[in-house]
C-alpha cells in the first residue's frame, strides 16, 4: 500500500470540517495520486511555520495525507528558536530593574537558570505586549528605562523596524533577537542526515519578503519551494504542487497563495527592515549557528541598542548548571526535522504545556505544544 485506502480517506475527509468538502476530497485524492506516482516512499517535505502546523493539527490534515508522505515542521516557531543566551540577556536586564516588554510566549521560555517569568516572580518588571507600538506607549508612560525584547521572524521584525524609524522615546531601547527564515532553510538542506526534499513556505512571511526571496535557495539546493496559505485547502493544494515538483524534478518557487503574496513582496516593508537591521550569524536554539540568520540593529542605531546602552553580564547566570531534564530535551532535533515530538521521552510526561521543559512546549507555535494540544501523535499516515 502506498497510500491510505480510499474508504478510509473518504471517512477522514468527511470527519473534517472543511469549508468545501468536494474540493478537499479532490485535493486529498490528487495528493495520494502524486505521491503514488513518485514510485518510492517515504518522501519528506518541511514547512517552516507554526501556523501551518496549527492548521494541520487542528483540522486533522495528517489523517488525510497518503502513507509515504511525511510533512515535518521545521524551525518555524520564533519563540522556540530564540537561543538561551538571548533569553539570558533579557533576564539580566530585568534583574537590573529595567522594564522588559516582550511578546507573551517569550516570558516562559527557559534561560540558562531562569525565565523572564521566574525573574518576574522575584520582582522584575516584565510586560507582555502584542505589538511593538505598545512598547512605545509603555515607555512614554514612565521615566524608567524600558527595553523591548524583540523576537520573531521577518513579519514581526518589520513592525520593530517601523517603530524604530518612527522615533523612540529616549528611555526605550531594543534588544533584538529577531531571526530571518531563508538562511535556516539552507542549514536544514545542508544537514547530512536531512531527508527533506521540498519546502512549504509560510504565506504571511512571504507577504513581506515576496516569493522571489526563495529563488537563490532553489538555485543552490535544487529543492522546490511552494508558498502556501493557512486554510486547510491552501495547505493541501500547496502539498499537491510540491509533490508534483519533486516528481517532475523541476525545482522552482511556486506561489500558491497569490491572494496575499506577490513575487516582489512588500517593498516598503523590506526597505524599512534592511534600513534598521543587518543580518548576522548566530545560534538558533538547538539547531546550529545560522550564517545571516539573526537580525541585529545597524550601527546607525547604536544609541537605541540595549546591548550597547547597558552592561549585560551573563556570567552570573552561568554559575548554575541547567536542570537535568533540560539536557534530555530534543527540541533542536525536532526543529531540524530529525525527530518528532513523540520521539522525546519527556513529551507529555515531565514536559507539558503547564510545566514545559523546552521552548517547543511553551509556544502556541511550538511543535510539541501543538501536538500535545491537539491530541498526542496526529500523524496517522506518516509510516512508510
Amino acid at each position: 500500500m502506498t497510500h491510505v485506502p480510499g474508504a478510509e480517506r473518504d471517512q477522514a475527509v468527511s470527519e473534517l470540517k472543511f469549508r468545501d468538502p468536494v474540493r478537499a476530497r479532490g485535493l486529498v485524492d490528487a495528493l495520494a495520486q502524486r505521491v503514488a506516482e513518485l514510485g518510492r516512499s517515504p518522501v519528506s517535505v518541511m514547512h517552516v511555520c507554526g501556523s501551518h502546523e496549527q492548521a494541520i493539527a487542528k483540522f486533522g490534515l495528517r489523517s488525510t495525507f497518503p502513507r509515504g508522505l511525511n510533512v515535518i515542521m521545521g524551525p518555524g516557531c520564533p519563540v522556540c528558536i530564540t537561543d538561551t543566551p538571548e533569553v539570558d540577556e533579557g533576564v539580566v536586564l530585568a534583574r537590573q530593574g529595567i522594564h522588559i516588554a516582550t511578546y507573551g510566549d517569550m516570558v516562559r521560555v527557559p534561560g540558562t537558570s531562569m525565565s523572564l517569568a521566574d525573574a518576574q516572580a522575584e520582582g522584575a518588571k516584565i510586560h507582555v505586549i502584542y505589538s511593538a507600538a505598545q512598547a512605545v506607549e509603555l515607555a512614554r508612560a514612565t521615566t524608567d528605562e524600558v527595553v523591548f525584547f524583540a523576537t520573531g521572524f521577518e513579519t514581526t521584525a518589520v513592525a520593530t523596524a517601523a517603530v524604530v524609524l518612527g522615533g523612540l522615546p529616549p528611555n526605550l531601547s531594543i534588544l533584538s533577537a529577531h531571526k530571518y527564515i531563508p538562511p535556516v532553510m539552507e542549514i536544514v538542506a545542508e544537514m547530512p542526515q536531512t531527508k527533506v526534499e521540498g519546502f512549504l513556505a509560510a504565506g504571511h512571511a512571504a507577504t513581506i519578503t515576496g516569493s522571489a526571496v526563495f529563488e537563490p535557495f532553489v538555485a543552490r539546493h535544487h529543492l522546490p519551494v511552494v508558498v502556501a496559505g493557512f486554510e486547510p485547502l491552501d495547505i493541501l493544494a500547496g502539498l499537491v504542487k510540491l509533490v508534483e515538483l519533486i516528481r517532475d524534478r523541476t525545482p522552482q518557487v511556486v506561489n500558491m497563495f497569490p491572494r496575499c503574496v506577490t513575487r516582489d513582496g512588500n517593498r516598503r516593508a523590506q526597505d524599512q527592515l534592511w534600513k534598521v537591521f543587518r543580518p548576522t550569524g548566530g545560534r538558533w536554539r538547538g539547531i546550529a549557528h545560522v550564517p545571516n540568520g539573526n537580525l541585529r540593529l545597524r550601527d546607525e542605531f547604536a544609541a537605541i541598542d540595549a546591548r550597547r546602552r547597558f552592561p549585560i553580564d551573563l556570567a552570573s547566570l552561568w554559575d548554575h548548571a541547567p536542570a537535568a531534564l533540560v539536557q534530555s530535551c530534543i527540541c533542536g532535533d525536532i526543529m531540524a526535522g530529525l525527530s518528532a515530538p513523540t520521539d522525546c521521552k519527556l513529551f507529555g510526561q515531565e514536559c507539558t504545556p503547564e510545566k514545559p521543559v523546552g521552548a517547543c512546549m511553551v509556544s502556541s507555535e511550538g511543535a510539541c505544544k501543538i501536538w500535545h494540544q491537539y491530541g498526542g501523535h496526529p500523524d496517522l499516515g506518516g509510516e512508510a
Partner: protein, 98 residues
C-alpha cells in the same frame, strides 16, 4: 506570530486606520503597507501593523479561514487564540480619543 488577520478599514487618519475585525474596532498602523488605503478596503493586520491591502477579488476567499476559526472558537484552541492575539495587537479604538 505567523498569522495575520484581515479586517475592514472604517476610516483613515494619517498614519492610522480604524479597522473592524468581526465587530471589534481597532487602530492599525499604516507605516509598513505599500499601497494607499481607504475606507472600505480590507487589510491584513500583523502585530498591529497593516502589511497588505487585500485585492477586492480576494476578500471573500481570505476571510474564509477566520470565519471558520471564529465560529468554532473552542477554548484552548491554539490557532483561534493566535488570531485573538493578533486582533489584540492593534490598539483598542475606544482608547484612541482619550
Amino acid at each position: 506570530m505567523c498569522l495575520g488577520v484581515p479586517g475592514k478599514v472604517i476610516e483613515v487618519n494619517g498614519n492610522i486606520a480604524t479597522v473592524d475585525f468581526w465587530g471589534v474596532r481597532r487602530q492599525v498602523q499604516l507605516d509598513v503597507i505599500d499601497e494607499p488605503v481607504a475606507a472600505g478596503d480590507y487589510i491584513l493586520n500583523h502585530v498591529g501593523f497593516a502589511i497588505r491591502r487585500i485585492p477586492d477579488s480576494e476578500i471573500a476567499e481570505t476571510l474564509a479561514l477566520y470565519e471558520q476559526l471564529i465560529k468554532q472558537a473552542e477554548q484552548d484552541d491554539l490557532m483561534a487564540e493566535d488570531v485573538r492575539n493578533e486582533i489584540a495587537g492593534a490598539k483598542d479604538d475606544s482608547r484612541a480619543g482619550s
